[in-house]
C-alpha cells in the first residue's frame, strides 16, 4: 500500500499555499495546514494516481470553496482579541475578592477624604501628579528594559497573532496611563467649585479603578499571553 504520510517539504508547501491565500499568521496557518494535509493524505490513499499538488488544490476547493480562508481568518483575528479581552475582564472580576475589595474600598475612601476634606488641594495635586509621573516613567522604563510587550522569537520570518495583540496591549497601556493622568488632573483641580461629595467620590473611585486596570494591562496580561504562547508554540520561543 502507498505511504501517503506527507513529508516535511510537502507540509512546508502547504504553509506557503496558506500564506499565498492571505493566511499570514502562523497560529491560523497551523490549523488549516493540518486540515489540508489530512484531506490530501486521505485523497492520495483513495486515489493513488493523484499527485500531491492536484490533491492539495482539490482538497482546498472541496472544503473551503471559492471564498477560501477569508471568513476563517477574519473570525480568528476577532476571536483572538475577544478571548484576551475576556481574560482581562475575568482577571478584574477575580481581583475584586474579599481581602482586595476591602483594600480597594480603603484606597477609594482615603483618596476621597484627601479630595474632599483636606484644604491643601494644591499640595495634593502636586504630590499625586508627581507620584503618577514617577509611576508612568517607571512603567515606561520597565517596559523598555524588560520588553514585556515583546515576545522573543527564534524565527522572525513568521508572523504571529500574538505580536499584533501585544501592540494593541501596549497602546492600551499608553492610553490608559494618559486617561488616568487627565482624570487625576480633572478631579484634583485645586479651585474646582462647588466641591460636591458626589463628584469627589466619583473621582476617587475612577482613579483607583483605572489604576487597577493599568496594573492588570501592564503586569498581568503580558505574562498571561506569553504563557499561552509558550504552551502552544514552545519551539519558537527564544530561551
Amino acid at each position: 500500500m502507498r505511504n501517503t504520510q506527507l513529508t516535511l517539504e510537502q507540509i512546508e508547501l502547504i504553509y506557503d499555499f496558506c500564506y499565498n491565500h492571505d493566511v499570514l499568521e502562523y497560529e491560523i496557518q497551523t490549523e488549516l495546514v493540518d486540515h489540508l494535509a489530512t484531506a490530501v493524505e486521505k485523497q492520495m490513499s483513495e486515489k493513488p494516481e493523484l499527485a500531491f499538488k492536484e490533491a492539495l488544490i482539490d482538497a482546498f476547493y472541496l472544503d473551503f470553496g471559492i471564498d477560501g480562508f477569508k471568513e476563517i481568518v477574519k473570525s480568528k483575528r476577532q476571536s483572538f482579541r475577544k478571548q484576551y479581552d475576556q481574560l482581562f475582564l475575568q482577571f478584574l472580576g477575580s481581583f475584586f475578592q474579599l481581602p482586595r475589595i476591602v483594600l480597594t474600598l480603603a484606597l477609594i475612601l482615603t483618596l476621597y477624604i484627601a479630595l474632599h476634606y483636606l484644604d491643601q488641594r494644591r499640595i495634593i495635586l502636586i504630590i499625586s501628579a508627581s507620584i503618577l509621573v514617577v509611576f508612568y516613567l517607571l512603567f515606561g522604563m520597565l517596559d523598555f528594559l524588560t520588553n514585556r510587550f515583546k515576545i522573543k522569537l527564534k524565527n522572525n520570518e513568521k508572523s504571529f497573532l500574538i505580536v499584533g495583540y501585544f501592540n494593541r496591549l501596549k497602546s492600551l497601556v499608553n492610553s490608559s496611563g494618559g486617561v488616568l493622568y487627565f482624570v487625576m488632573i480633572f478631579f484634583f483641580k485645586p479651585f474646582r467649585s462647588p466641591q460636591t461629595a458626589g463628584i469627589d467620590l466619583l473621582g476617587s473611585t475612577l482613579i483607583v479603578l483605572l489604576f487597577i486596570s493599568y496594573y492588570a494591562l501592564m503586569f498581568y496580561m503580558p505574562k498571561l499571553v506569553k504563557q499561552h504562547f509558550n504552551d502552544q508554540f514552545p519551539q519558537f520561543v527564544k530561551s
Binding site: Q5, T7, L8, S79
Partner: protein, 121 residues
C-alpha cells in the same frame, strides 16, 4: 451559505446554522478531544449526509467557542505537522446541558403548537 442541507430551499438551513455551536459542544462532550478535520467528518457521519457542516462555518464557530471559554485547545506534533485539539471545558459542559434542555422544551412547545390535541370531552 455555509451549512449545506438538502432542505436548503425550505429554510431549514437557518435552523441548522443556529444549532451549530450546540452540535459541536455535544460532539466534543461525547467524544472527548478532537481536531477540526475530525469534527467535520464526525458530523457528516452522524448526520448521514442529511446536512453538512462546511469548514467555512466550522472553524469560525470553533474559534468563537474557544474565545468564550467553552473550549480549550492543545497543540501537539502529529507526524510532520502540528495538530490543534479542541476539548470541552467545564463551562462548555454546563452550556451544552442548558442548550439541550432549551432545545427539548422548544421542540415540545412547537409540537403542541402545530399539532394541538383537541379535547372532545
Amino acid at each position: 451559505m455555509y451549512v449545506c442541507s438538502k432542505f436548503n430551499l425550505m429554510g431549514t438551513n437557518q435552523l441548522y446554522k443556529g444549532s451549530l455551536s450546540t452540535i459541536i459542544l455535544k460532539l466534543l462532550g461525547e467524544k472527548g478531544r478532537m481536531y477540526g478535520y475530525q469534527i467535520t467528518q464526525e458530523v457528516k457521519a452522524i448526520s448521514a449526509g442529511e446536512y453538512m457542516i462546511t469548514e467555512g462555518a466550522l472553524y469560525p464557530m470553533l474559534h468563537k467557542l474557544e474565545a468564550q471559554g467553552m473550549l480549550t485547545v492543545e497543540i501537539e506534533m502529529t507526524g510532520n505537522r502540528m495538530r490543534k485539539y479542541y476539548s470541552i471545558t467545564k463551562n462548555g459542559k454546563k452550556e451544552v446541558v442548558d442548550r439541550m434542555t432549551e432545545m427539548e422544551s422548544f421542540i415540545r412547545n412547537m409540537q403542541s403548537l402545530l399539532n394541538p390535541k383537541i379535547d372532545l370531552a
